[in-house]
C-alpha cells in the first residue's frame, strides 16, 4: 500500500481550466479571454523591444552564474523601490525602506505574508476586497493568516461600492491588515478615483490598519507609471508605512522570468536593516536566493536611460491597445443593437474587465461561440484584438438581448 492512499485529488485551478478547455476546442473562431497575459493585436505574446535589447546586452557581457544574495540583485531592488515610490519620495531618499527581490508578484506577496505571520503580532486577520485575485486567499492562508473581506465591487453598477467599502473599513478592528490593489484591480478593473483614495487613506489611518499594497500593473493600467503608483505614494506621504508587492510579469512582459519585489516602508534606515535581516531568514529556507535573469533584465531597463524611455513608450503602447479594445467593444455592442449600458467596460481599467455577465450567459458564450472566460464573467481584454472584437460583441449581444 502507499503512504498517499488518503491524499485527495486537488481541485483543478479554475483559471487554468479555462485555458485547457480552450486548447481542446477546434472552432477556428475560438477566443481565450481567461488568460492573464498580454497579447498583441494578432493575439500573440509580446516580448518588449527593450527586453530584447537588455537580453542582448546581458548575453554580450558573458557574465558568470554565481548566486545572488538572498535579498536579490541590489541594482534591481533599488530601482524597483524608486519606480514604486518615485525618485523624489522622502521615504526613498532617506533610505527608510527595505526592498527584497521576490519570485514575481506571488513570491513577493508570500514573503510579505510570511513576514506578517511571524512579526505582526497585533492581528491574524487580512482583509481582502470583495472580490480579489483568486490566489490571494490561499497565499495568506498558507502563510498562517485568516481571511476577511470588505465590500468593494457593486455588481448592480459594475463599479466601485465606495460607501460600502468605507463602511466596512470603518468597522475593521484596529491594527488589522488590509490589502489594497494599487491599480487595475484584479479581477474587476474597478479602481478608486483619487478623491476616493484620499478618503480611504484617511480611514485606514484612523483605524490604524497595516496597509499591504499589491501592485502588479504599474504602467500597464493607465499607461503612466506615476499615475498608476499615485495611491501608493499618497498613502506613504500621509505617514502610512505601507508594505508593497510588485510584479514585472505584465508591465515588462517578463512572465516566466519571475521578476518581482517586496518592500517594507520603515520608521528609519536602521529599522529597515533589521527588517531586511528577518526577511532574509524567511527567504533562505524557501528557495535560498532568487533567479537572476528577470531581475537583471528589469534592472538594465530601469537603470539605462534610453532603455527606460523605450520601456515607458512600450508599456503605454500595451495599455493603449487595451483601452482601445475596450472602446471598440462598447461601440461594437452598440452597433449590434444592444440596449444595455456597457459603460463599465470603458470605465474599468487594466487587463481585466468584469462584464457583468451571469454564469448561464458565460456558459453559452463558451458552448455556442467558443469564447472562453471565467464563470464570474471576467474577461482578459488583452485577449481581444481588432480582428475578433466584432465577433465578441456579436456573441455577447446574442446571450444578453
Amino acid at each position: 500500500s502507499s503512504w498517499w492512499s488518503h491524499v485527495e485529488m486537488g481541485p483543478p485551478d479554475p483559471i487554468l481550466g479555462v485555458t485547457e478547455a480552450f486548447k481542446r476546442d477546434t472552432n477556428s473562431k475560438k477566443m481565450n479571454l481567461g488568460v492573464g497575459a498580454y497579447r498583441d493585436d494578432n493575439g500573440k505574446p509580446y516580448v518588449l523591444n527593450c527586453v530584447r535589447k537588455a537580453e542582448a546586452m546581458i548575453a554580450s557581457k558573458k557574465m558568470d552564474k554565481e548566486y545572488l544574495p538572498i535579498g536579490g540583485l541590489a541594482d534591481f531592488t533599488r530601482a524597483s523601490a524608486e519606480l514604486a515610490l518615485g525618485e523624489n519620495s522622502e521615504a526613498f531618499k532617506s533610505g527608510r525602506y527595505v526592498t527584497v527581490q521576490g519570485i514575481s508578484g506571488t513570491g513577493s506577496l508570500r514573503i510579505g505574508a510570511n513576514f506578517l505571520q511571524r512579526f505582526f503580532k497585533s492581528s491574524r486577520d487580512v482583509y481582502l476586497p470583495k472580490p480579489s485575485w483568486g490566489n490571494h486567499t490561499p497565499i495568506f492562508r498558507d502563510a498562517g493568516l485568516q481571511l476577511q473581506a470588505y465590500r468593494y465591487y457593486d455588481p448592480k453598477t459594475c463599479s466601485l461600492d465606495f460607501s460600502g467599502a468605507m463602511d466596512d473599513i470603518s468597522k475593521i478592528p484596529e491594527k488589522s491588515i488590509i490589502v489594497l490593489h494599487a491599480c487595475a484591480h484584479n479581477p474587476t478593473g474597478v479602481d478608486p478615483r483619487q478623491e476616493q483614495w484620499k478618503e480611504l487613506a484617511a480611514m485606514v489611518k484612523k483605524r490604524n490598519l497595516l496597509v499591504y499594497f499589491d501592485m502588479a500593473y504599474q504602467g500597464f493600467a493607465s499607461g503612466d507609471i506615476n499615475r498608476d503608483a499615485w495611491a501608493v505614494r499618497y498613502f506613504i506621504e500621509q505617514g502610512i508605512n505601507v508594505i508593497l508587492s510588485q510584479s514585472y510579469a505584465k508591465n515588462m512582459g517578463l512572465y516566466g522570468e519571475r521578476a518581482g519585489a517586496f518592500t517594507v516602508i520603515c520608521s528609519d534606515a536602521e529599522e529597515a536593516k533589521r527588517v531586511e535581516s528577518q526577511l532574509k531568514i524567511l527567504i533562505r529556507p524557501m528557495y535560498s536566493n532568487p533567479p537572476l535573469n528577470g531581475a537583471r533584465i528589469a534592472s538594465i531597463i530601469l537603470n539605462t536611460p534610453d532603455l527606460r524611455k523605450e520601456w515607458l513608450v512600450e508599456v503605454k503602447g500595451m495599455a493603449d491597445r487595451i483601452i482601445s479594445m475596450r472602446t471598440q467593444l462598447v461601440s461594437n455592442l452598440k452597433k449590434e443593437g444592444s440596449s444595455h449600458n456597457w459603460q463599465h467596460i470603458t470605465d474599468q481599467i487594466g487587463m481585466f474587465c468584469f462584464t457583468g455577465l451571469k454564469p448561464e450567459q458565460v456558459e453559452r458564450l463558451i458552448k455556442e461561440f467558443s469564447i472562453y472566460m471565467t464563470k464570474d464573467g471576467r474577461i482578459s481584454v488583452a485577449g481581444v484584438t481588432s480582428g475578433n472584437v466584432g465577433y465578441l460583441a456579436h456573441a455577447i449581444h446574442q446571450v444578453t438581448k
Binding site: I139, I281, P285
Partner: protein
Amino acid sequence: YLPILGLPEFRANASRIALGDNSPAIKENRIGSVQSLGGTGALRIGAEFLRRWYNGNNNTATPVYISAPSWENHNSVFVDAGFKDIRTYRYWDAAKRGLDLQGLLDDMEKAPEFSIFILHACAHNPTGTDPTPDQWKQIAAVMKRRFLFPFFDSAYQGFASGSLDKDAWAVRYFVSEGFELFCAQSFSKNFGLYNERVGNLTVVGKDADNVQRVLSQMEKIVRTTWSNPPSQGARIVATTLSSPQLFAEWKDNVKTMADRVLLMRSELRSRLESLGTPGTWNHITEQIGMFSFTGLNPKQVEYMIKEKHIYLMASGRINMCGLTTKNLDYVAKSIHEAVTKIQ
C-alpha cells in the same frame, strides 16, 4: 508563464537523470516531478507536502531526522514547513574521521515508525563522507523494516565521483527496493547554473494514481509559494539533456569539474604528508564532493582566518573548489602552521 509544475521536458529529463533510463519506476509510470527553485525549493515543496499529507493530515509531530552534521538550511526548511520535532541522527565520527554507521543504524532502529529521514544522495555536505553501497544496503533494510520515509537530497549528482550513475546509486537502490521516496535535485553545481535556480523534486510512488494525487496537491503548494517557476535555467537543462551531443558534452564537463576537485584533494593530502603535518590526512582523499571536513578545530580555524587570511567554516569545513594549483602550497603550509602552533 510556465505551467505551475514547470517545463514538462525539464521535469521528465531531470527525473530520468536521477532515476536512470532503465528505472522500473519510470517504466511503471509511477514517478512525478516538480520543477523547483534550486535544491532548496525542491526540499521546501517536499517538506510542505509531507507536513500536510504524510502520516496523517497536518501531522506536525512526525519526527524529522537530519544527519549530525548536515547543511544548516535543512533544519530551517523543515521548521518553516511546520514540523515541530526535528532530531538528528548520528553520522560523523569525529574521532575516527569517518561515518558512524553503528550510531546511524542505531538511531534508525530507535526512531519512531514513519519518521522522515533526510539522506544525502552523495557527497555529504559538510563531511564529504558517504556510506558505501554495502552500508547503504544496511540502511535501506532498517528503513524498510521500520517504515521510515527516505527524503534524498541530491545536490551533486555527477559532481561527486564524475559519474552520474555512480552518484545516483543510493537513490536507485532504494527505488529498486520498492520504497516510496522523494528526491530533491539541484542543478546548481553540476550545471553551474547557480543563480538560475534550477531544481527538481522527484516523487516515486507505488502507482500512477497515487503519484497523480500527490502532484495535484504539490501544485497547490507551488501556486501559493511562487505560482510557477523561472523558465531560463530549466530550458537550458532540458535542451542539454534531450540532445545526444549536448548531453555527452555535459557529462564530459561534469567529469572535468569533478576531476579537478579530486586532483586538489590528492595534491593537498600529499603536501600535508610531505610536510609531516601531525595527524592523518587520508580523509582528504577518501572524502568526496566539494567539501572536506579537515578536522581543524575552531581555534585553528580562527588562526587560518586571522593570521593566514584563509576563510573556512568554524566546523573546519573547506570548499575544495577554492584550491588552485597556485594556492595549494600556501594553504598546505598554513594548515601545517595552524595544527602545529594551535592546540
